[in-house]
């Protein structure tokens, strides 16, 4: 548009803007666009993946999505499931309970998927899993949450790809008390994720004759941690830390400044540094400290052929970084759950001769009866045992020591070390 002086102006009137808004809204709401999941129902297995693309879980979600795509490609290249290719539908759940539930409802009723998998953060799972059960759609979490095995959900909920946090933590206590000491100070985030550690590790240490002498919860919004360190019991043998988020760099740096060269043994959950480069200078204080890892981020000297295969398929190098960007560190101790969950779905659908929703009940029963899943390309983290009552899989865990800014596995637990008595029996519930 040109005005009287000859200058070009951009003059958008209210009416034009209204028209534009109306047109844009109509386009977006139109069923003719964007409806890939609706486009071709039929000879496919539709799997819905609500992924944490945005929000607090985005670092995990990015890798969960890559792993899901890689596993689906391998399954489809190998002929799919029962002769049908997987149609993977991914949508962002914003790492938010409300949005996470909406997406689950969308998968169940609009896309009419055969199963839903991939949610991680426990507050999202807590909101979404029950709704999936009410909508009678199989829901497979990749979360570590103990809520499933504690009986909080329904027969439609499963966790076949990763051990829950209660088992992970309990299996660490014997080694920690035997090798590092019996008196522990815990520094943990003051929200749900931290409470699991607080409760389960305290109980597990008590069983080992040890104690968690000091609990130091840190608000998730905290950016400086120095003021918390004087609370550390000076007679502690071990500092147990688990933090999530960018605060970890400051946390470790300030912890190093507080202690200097003489300090108790340090044990942490790798969640603290998932997606963070261990060679970052601020993390140098972690040298020689210990971490729980579900899957060793750094390829070990005795790396299994299965880990090698999986690492290559998902595009992760021997240092746990993306093969296309060495600065892009994976969430290696969690993302295998997506891979293993997809192969568990495949295995159960094949056992049930699944062709569509008519075999949904058989599929659920087959998931319950997955039994022992041996270490393989399909289960690269290691052997899993599925508990048909709790719908929770149990696997081995690793304790690694930081050496030259890499992690070396020093101990691998047995599956039995993490087992506990079932707290629920979903298999007796109606479908």
């Amino acid at each position: 548009m040109t005005d009287k002086t000859g200058n070009k102006t951009f003059n958008l009137t209210r009416r034009t803007a209204l028209k534009g808004l109306a047109a844009g809204t109509s386009l977006i709401l139109s069923p003719a666009v964007l409806r890939h999941g609706l486009a071709h129902a039929g000879e496919t297995i539709k799997l819905g993946a609500p992924i944490h693309r945005t929000g607090i879980g985005a670092a995990y979600g990015r890798w969960y999505e890559r792993v899901a795509n890689a596993a689906v490609k391998i399954i489809n290249d190998g002929g799919g499931i029962n002769g049908m290719p997987i149609e993977l539908i991914i949508e962002d759940d914003g790492t938010d309970p409300k949005r996470g539930t909406e997406v689950v409802e969308k998968f169940a009723t609009e896309y009419k998927v055969d199963a839903i998998f991939g949610q991680l953060f426990s507050h999202v799972v807590a909101a979404a899993a029950p709704r999936a059960g009410e909508l009678k759609v199989p829901y497979l979490m990749c979360s570590e949450t103990h809520q499933l095995a504690a009986g909080g959900f329904s027969r439609y909920a499963f966790q076949p790809g990763i051990t829950d946090v209660k088992s992970q933590i309990a299996s660490m206590a014997p080694w920690v008390s035997k090798n590092l000491g019996k008196k522990v100070t815990m520094i943990y985030p003051d929200y749900a994720f931290g409470y699991g550690h607080r409760d389960f590790f305290s109980a597990a240490m008590k069983e080992q004759g040890g104690e968690v002498s000091t609990l130091i919860p840190v608000p998730p919004t905290e950016t400086s941690f120095s003021r918390y360190f004087p609370q550390i019991d000076p007679s502690s043998d071990v500092i147990y830390h688990v933090m999530v988020g960018p605060g970890v760099l400051t946390f470790v740096k300030e912890l190093g400044e507080f202690f200097g060269s003489s300090h108790p043994a340090i044990f942490g959950f790798v969640d603290s540094i998932e997606a963070v480069d261990l060679a970052t200078p601020q993390l140098s204080f972690l040298e020689d400290s210990y971490f729980w890892e579900a899957a060793p981020r750094y390829a070990q000297a005795d790396q299994t052929e299965f880990d090698k295969f999986y690492r290559e398929a998902v595009g992760v190098d021997a240092n746990g970084a993306s093969t296309s960007d060495p600065k892009d560190i994976s969430t290696y101790s969690h993302m295998f759950s997506v891979w293993e969950t997809l192969f568990a779905i495949k295995s159960a659908m094949e056992a049930a001769d699944y062709k569509g929703v008519e075999q949904k009940e058989a599929f659920i029963e087959a998931l319950e009866n997955l039994g022992t899943m041996e270490a393989s390309n399909e289960h690269p983290q290691g052997k899993k045992v599925m508990d048909p009552k709790t719908h929770q899989a149990f696997g081995v865990q690793n304790i690694s020591q930081v050496k030259s800014s890499k992690m070396e596995v020093v101990y691998t637990t047995t599956i039995e070390e993490g087992m506990y008595e079932p707290e629920v029996d979903y298999s007796k519930m109606s479908l």
Binding site: L12, R14, A17, L18, L21, G24, T25, I28, L29, L34, R53, T54, E91, D92, G94, D96, P97, K98, R99, T101, E102, E105, K106, T109, E110, S122, H123, A126, A127, A129, P130, R131, E134, Q147, G152, F153, S154, D190, Y191, A192, F193, Y195, P219, P220
Partner: protein, 319 residues
Amino acid sequence: MGAGMMKSLILHLAVLVLLFLLQFVISDYAILTLTRMMVLGIFASGFNILFGYTGLLSLGHAMFFGAGVYAAGLPIYHFGWSVPLAFVFAIFMSFVAAVIIGVIALRTVRDSFMILTLMLAQAGYLAILYFNRETGGSEGLTMPQASRSFDFLGLTIDLTDAATRYNIAVLLLAITIVVSFILIQGRYGRLFNAIRENEARTEMLGYNVLTAKLFSFTVSGTIAGMAGAAYAILFGYIGATFAGIQYSIEALLFTLLGGAGTLLGPLLGSILMTTLIDRLSEVTSAYFLFLGLILIALTLWFPKGLLGTIKEKWLPWLT
């Protein structure tokens, strides 16, 4: 009743009837999502009483939504209360919370009021995290299976049934709209408007402005709390996020988008924004960016929101 008021009443009743009838033609997913939109629309409607009609901008209304969520959810979870009892209790507790917080917050005006409501809401959010053993903290609590159906007046209400939830949401929305309509058309509604337009003049005319503002604040907080209680009961989950700042901002955005000072504006805003997020997120993870651009455009060309502009231009009788 004047002709304008009659037109407005007929329009609002027609919208409610339309919402009821929609369930017979829309898809299963639309029923599920529209249920949630209506509950959030009720929340924003409560906010709108204070913001749109009385001119008081609270940045902490999630505290009332959260109060409703927890006052309904915790007794059900911990003490096995019946759903109707917990719902009524939650409305009462939201009312109490609104009176107490109103008495404190209304000692301030303008920016101070906004900041104080924001801070009080943040205190509420942090209290939920602090008492995490009871509230479930940020992880929240899943409502027990037993609370998903209950008997009420001889009827068995199954909350896992989409149509049941939808009709409960329509009923609660209808109650909200009707109560708000009566309030806004009455003496207090005119007083709210007077305060919004010129508080000092209203006071000089002899009205007790503080009492009127407290009344508006209480009605607003109670409706928001009712929406929170409905959310907890209908969707079976309570969590700290519902008391977080994003929900305070959502109520504001729904109202601004749909039209502050119109009864249907917040509902329209809730429907539009939720739908936009839902559809845009299918193609991009930067959906909040596009949403932001739309809101900027709206602020530039429709400062009164969609229904607010329609009211200003064409339908001056719209309530």
